[in-house]
Amino acid sequence: MKHKKSSRKSFRQQWPLYAMALPGVAALLAFSYFPMAGIILVFKQYNFKQGIFGSPWVQPIYKNFSFFFNNLSTAMRSTGLTVMYNILFFIAGTFLSVAIAIMLGEVSSKKFVKVSQSFMFLPYFISWMVIGAILNSLINSETGMLSQIVAKAGGTMPDVYALPKAWIPILVIVNTWQSCGYTSIIYYGVITGIDASLYEAARVDGATKWQCIRKITLPLLKPTIIIMFLLSVGNMLKGNLNMIIGLTNLNPVLFPTTDLIDVFVYRSGVRNGEMAFASAISLYQSVFGLILVLTSNKIAGKFDEDATLF
């Protein structure tokens, strides 16, 4: 749509627009802006009765942050885990979904593409709770199907629910399984948009399919991959609490590898009411998250004006 400057209209003509925006504005105020104001929590000696705004200020004002620095190792562990998983998820997810998209682009049967795609999206439609329950029936050491198969093959399956290290590969595999079909849509969209004459010309010159993929498809996917990477950098500090609750039920034994920032804030702040430290780490996450989003968006905009998130 082209932008046309026209004269401002009166309130009488435009009242419906105000009415239409009102519920959305109310929802954003209540659930986004009001909590932003609630960030001052970090400077408060919080008690439930007086709430965020009524509770007294802490003395000295930076006291809650001293919790943060005194428990720096916990904060850093959560930060490190969150960033590590986001990077691993990105690498594994991108690799698989690009591979899927390329393969889908090469097979000629439209019916096959449709059917296999619809199977691959299915995991994206399923809740983390359900995935966790199914995973449990596969890998728990007593009744899990995989454990039984391992046992029959003469090995013993360790009790993964008591083995923190096992969860790094498990989370990466499950996350990739859940999202690869969904992400591949984006890359597949780019591939179907590539000018077919490029391939024609290469074929005439005697290129094999494999060469076409390496010399034409992959280079043309590169900008999209870079943009997706930059966008994921913006979310580097966001941990998926739903995933961890669904898959591990916040099993404390597994915290060494599952205690993401969001998990930590949930269990210490929401569950145990330890507001001081939780609010400090929460503020740190919000502020650094904002910096990351702004920076990565700016860089993404330099690559491609259309590619920024908004």
Partner: protein
């Protein structure tokens, strides 16, 4: 134009077919596994674990679940349906209206409202402050509304619809306005019908979000009468974990439930509607994501 065909090309295509089939099956497998798992017999599971080829398929678990916890499950299903249907209608109406408002050019606050929504995507107050605001100040606890209102407006979905609106010729709005049509009429009669694919996509996104949600119940629900089906599953998994960690606890003594197969039965009950509707909605999904993914 003569095309050379290489032996290696045919091989590659065959390999691609095989790999894609494997990936598709791996994606499908856990769902089939859950279904067959729920038909396993508990005694066999306790002895030999879950199996894709159990000695005997039985509906005993479902019978047991419905006999002992039937009313609980029916109530949870009711809760999930109320929240999903009510929440989706509410969210879609709010989101579509907002998207329309920021599409209209000569509205004084259009730009302000667009930024007002955008800003919430890049900055937020964090879970803790959200939790206190929602429970203490907005009083959203233990009600259906508590599981709907916080998701009333998803800014990503709003931008997705806005992009569809932007793709339409703006003259549609201008001409209708000249003919004296009000904005509600224009949106309802002209713009919305022409953006059907986009609106169907966000209906799908919202419905999935509400049906699959256990975050809001986890945060805001204590009373059993408001447990959704996902939350029942969560509680059940928590109990199983508790029993596994404390085998000698007093709870374990009088809980002799066929927990393993029940877990799979409730899983199947929870994904049932998704599998049922999936064939009808997945074609919209591809289009919706392609439009919405990069230009959010």
């Amino acid at each position: 134009m003569k095309r050379k065909t290489y032996m290696s090309d045919r091989m590659l295509t065959v390999i691609f077919y095989i790999l894609l089939s494997i990936i598709a099956l791996v994606c499908l497998f856990p769902i089939i596994f859950a279904f067959i798992g729920s038909l396993n017999e508990e005694s066999e599971v306790m002895m030999n674990g879950f199996s894709m080829m159990p000695g005997k398929l039985s509906l005993d678990t479902y019978r047991y679940v419905f006999e002992t916890q039937g009313s609980k499950l029916v109530n949870a299903y009711k809760t999930s349906l109320i929240v999903t249907i009510g929440g989706t209608v509410l969210s879609v109406v709010i989101t579509v209206m907002y998207a329309y408002v920021i599409t209209v050019h000569d509205f004084r606050f259009g730009k302000v409202l667009a930024f007002f929504a955008y800003f919430t995507m890049i900055f937020n107050g964090g879970m803790l402050s959200w939790y206190i605001v929602t429970t203490k100040y907005l009083g959203l606890k233990d009600s259906y509304l508590a599981m709907m209102l916080p998701y009333a407006m998803n800014v990503f979905n709003m931008y997705l619809v806005r992009n569809y609106f932007k793709g339409l010729p703006y003259e549609l709005i201008e001409i209708a306005e000249m003919d004296g049509a009000g904005h509600f009429r224009i949106l309802w009669k002209i713009i919305a019908p022409l953006s059907k694919a986009g609106i169907v996509t966000i209906v799908l996104f919202y419905a999935l979000q509400y049906w699959n949600d256990f975050y809001l119940p986890l945060m805001l629900i204590n009373h059993e009468e408001f447990y959704s089906i996902q939350y029942i599953l969560y509680k059940m998994m928590a109990n199983i974990q508790f029993l596994a960690a404390n085998p000698s606890s007093s709870m374990a003594a009088h809980v002799v439930l066929p927990t393993q197969t029940i877990k799979m039965a409730i899983t199947c009950i929870a994904i049932g509607p998704i599998i049922l509707f999936y064939p009808f909605v997945q074609k919209y999904f591809v289009k919706g994501v392609t439009v919405g993914a990069l230009k959010g």
